[in-house]
Symmetry: C2
Subunit: 469 residues, 2 copies
């Protein structure tokens, strides 16, 4: 039996099991779902144990005063003690599912329809994590081996969708157990189902919330309107001023650590068969592209930093009218970072901007939870990236291109703290509606991904040097 046969024969078992996991609403951002995040970790540990991993553990994170959500660790040593050690990173927590009314089927009642698997987390990231035990079982069955050709470790965290606030601490405190020669990240997307590709970089992330306060109380807009500052006007002004006419972010020093794109970096992106109309359709039928002047869409979303307002509210937002000057205005912002940008510096620049730009009579505060996420980059010529490319090309039967990812994960912490290079292997698509209603994954693509994973371990064993430890 070869790898492909094994995967075909076990496909229904694979999807059935994955649906059990997807039914657990492991929303890490919502304290009301923290018990579900733990149930998700327990489910995964049991699943990996059943797949044959001799070591499976659920790791608590955080501290008694600042508890985090649990991560899952599993390890299966290679028969050859000299084989390289590979650490797989993914996450088992999911984004909030709201607005629930926009889901065609309930987000935590997984369905299979028209070749798709529909559920929150189907693509981001439970579907990708599930490829690893499936791929490994396929390789073992195809080769008759009893253990993987590398010492295989999985670290599947439970706080990625909350900005991984305790992940760096976890890596530091568990660095001995996690020592490895290469890190495989399965939390990214491919160019398209028929254009397989590997990510070579992710943007970083900084998040902050702005609160503006005027009077102590809402004021009658007739009695006082025109005579006192309106926090909503002030917020509109602050947010409108975040970008200049060229779509560049105006925060002081924002671009100081942004390395200009090289010609070869632009060439790698330029090889992709980008079609703006198709991309706009995937972007929720957006009506137009927009962004920083002088850059292509792919450069804008992958290789250039951004400031986005994710939420904004204040005053009367219910039915009917209420003629008030509200006492407060609020906005949640996130910044995507590239190259050497540091999340803490970006939050500090926002604080400086808001303090300088808030009008007289408006009290402004900027808060930020967690330390953000640094950007990550993996050179295409590295041994690990080349091994991943060969595994993907065997599974897909065609050339694998390189992309970057606009999203953020704790990749910079992984490579920085563990001192190992990164390779991104995953089969998500931009059309998977991650972070949005009706998240989905293509079933055929998940099976291709499991096949690539089946080949990956031997490719890495053959090309990655094992460090003595």
């Amino acid at each position: 039996m070869d790898v492909r046969d094994y995967i075909d024969q076990h496909a229904q078992e694979f999807f059935g099991s994955l649906k059990d996991w997807l039914a657990i609403p492991s929303v890490s951002a919502d304290p009301g779902h923290h018990a579900d995040v733990r149930a998700s970790a327990d489910w995964l540990a049991a699943h990996l144990r059943n797949a044959g991993f001799p070591e499976t553990e659920v790791w608590d994170t955080g501290s008694p005063g600042d508890p985090g959500q649990p991560a899952v660790f599993a390890r299966w040593p290679a028969a050859d003690a000299a084989a390289p050690a590979v650490l797989v990173y993914g996450h088992h927590d999911v984004q909030p599912a709201e607005p629930l009314s926009e889901w065609e089927s309930p987000p935590f009642e997984p369905r299979e329809r028209d070749g798709m698997l529909l559920a929150r987390g189907a693509s981001d990231d439970k579907g990708q994590v599930a490829l690893h035990p499936m791929g490994l079982r396929a390789w073992l069955a195809a080769t008759g081996q009893a253990a993987p050709p590398v010492t295989l470790m999985l670290l599947i965290e439970g706080e990625e969708e909350s900005g991984s606030p305790h992940f760096a601490d976890l890596l530091r405190s568990r660095a001995d157990r996690l020592a490895c020669d290469v890190i495989v990240v399965s939390d990214t997307t491919m160019w398209a189902a028929d254009v397989p590709s590997m990510c070579i970089g992710m943007r970083g992330l900084a998040e902050a919330e702005i609160t503006l306060r005027g009077a102590d109380t809402d004021l009658h807009s007739g009695s006082f309107g025109g005579g006192v500052p309106n926090p909503l006007h002030a917020m509109a002004g602050l947010l409108a001023g975040l970008h200049d006419g060229d779509g560049r972010v105006t925060l002081p020093g924002f671009y100081d650590r942004v390395v200009p794109l090289s010609d070869s970096e632009r060439d790698v992106l330029g090889r992709l068969p980008f079609k703006e109309n198709e991309w706009l359709a995937e972007a929720g039928h957006s009506r137009a592209a927009a962004g920083e002047a002088g850059y292509s869409t792919l450069e804008r979303i992958w290789a250039r930093p951004t400031a986005e307002v994710n939420g904004m509210w204040g005053g009367h937002t219910g039915p009917g009218t209420k003629t008030i000057i509200p006492r407060e205005a609020h906005a949640k912002l996130s910044f995507r970072l590239v190259a050497d940008q540091q999340p803490a510096e970006v939050v500090a620049a926002l604080q400086e901007y808001v303090a300088a730009a808030a009008p007289p009579g408006i009290e402004a505060t900027v808060s930020s939870r967690g330390g953000g996420v640094r950007p990550a980059f993996s050179p295409p010529a590295s041994a690990a990236v080349q091994a991943g490319k060969r595994a993907m090309e065997r599974a897909f039967g065609r050339e694998v291109l390189f992309t970057r990812e606009g999203g953020s994960g704790p990749e910079a912490d992984l490579t920085g703290i563990l001192g190992a290079p990164l390779v991104f292997v995953a089969v998500g698509l931009d059309s998977d509606r991650i972070h949005a209603p009706n998240e989905r994954a293509e079933k055929a693509l998940l099976l291709k991904g499991a096949e690539a994973i089946a080949y990956l371990w031997q490719e890495l064993a053959a090309s990655v040097t094992s460090s003595p430890r």
Copy 2:
């Protein structure tokens, strides 16, 4: 017994009865409270009947396809058929009470504390309306008369806090019954408890809601951020652009019908003992005055037009973070109008502005319910205003000054449709927290108001000419 003795002896009865009325949550903007609006109308009709009005009626408004909230009409003919007819205008509906958590005592459980009456509607407008039956009873008791010296009519509507959408139609359809020689409006404020004054003008009102749409769905701000328009950014830009650097409204043609303030109009306002610090304290401890360059605070809030954002929302507004580009952004706006500004023209100008300023890829709509409110103005030298001034001066024992009001009511419709001059007699204060949590009225001031009303009818009978009808 003179008027003052009567009022002193019946004060507790007055407040007890008023509290019964205030306990009815007649929130016209909330369909869930429409039964309460009707209960409030029924209560008032019964109360006026008990006070001696021989005719009391509850009038439905609107039409079967567009039902409105009921108004109360009452009439007490003068003994002398040649006496002038006076129509009193007020409203029995109230603003929404949200946010409920900020009320020191529940908004619809009226309390008396520290000389104050605390409840939604205590000042705006049930407390003011209640002065009329109380004042009339006092006059009748003091003079021994069996009927008022004018033919007295009350028209107390139930949709003022919803923009009086059916009031003009009601006036037109009931114009014969409502024919009068002067209109007394009791829905304004005085300068201060110890600086009695009368309003001589109110601003108009136009309201609109802006909706901006980007993609069909919320988008992941990592995958798409920087490449598509963000409706929240677009909304911030539109709202920030509503005012220029001098605080002037930028809508096309907005000032075309605004008559410049005359020197005498500025002098009338300049006579008031305005102290900015005290005014800011009343404005919910606002930290600074702000507004249109070249105008005093009183001119800004009373005699100049405004654009205010009353509410704004979009994207993730709950706990935690959600890194999305939201598909929609919303804002509720209101404009205060002066002189000859027309609500419909202002809404049209907003539509023109939004259509021109919305960025590519953003679908913008501007909606507006109801026809708005036109501005109103009563010349200080008119017979009706002078009669009101004498009544107020008898009650307060000192000179009565003139103010204007920044708020809006259906005064322009009253005078325009019924063809009678207006006089504003009321004893609310800007510190009454109308439209805000913890609305209140000064009990002593309400009693002074009832006294002024007791004198008002004879002053009007002596100076206002009765038209044959």
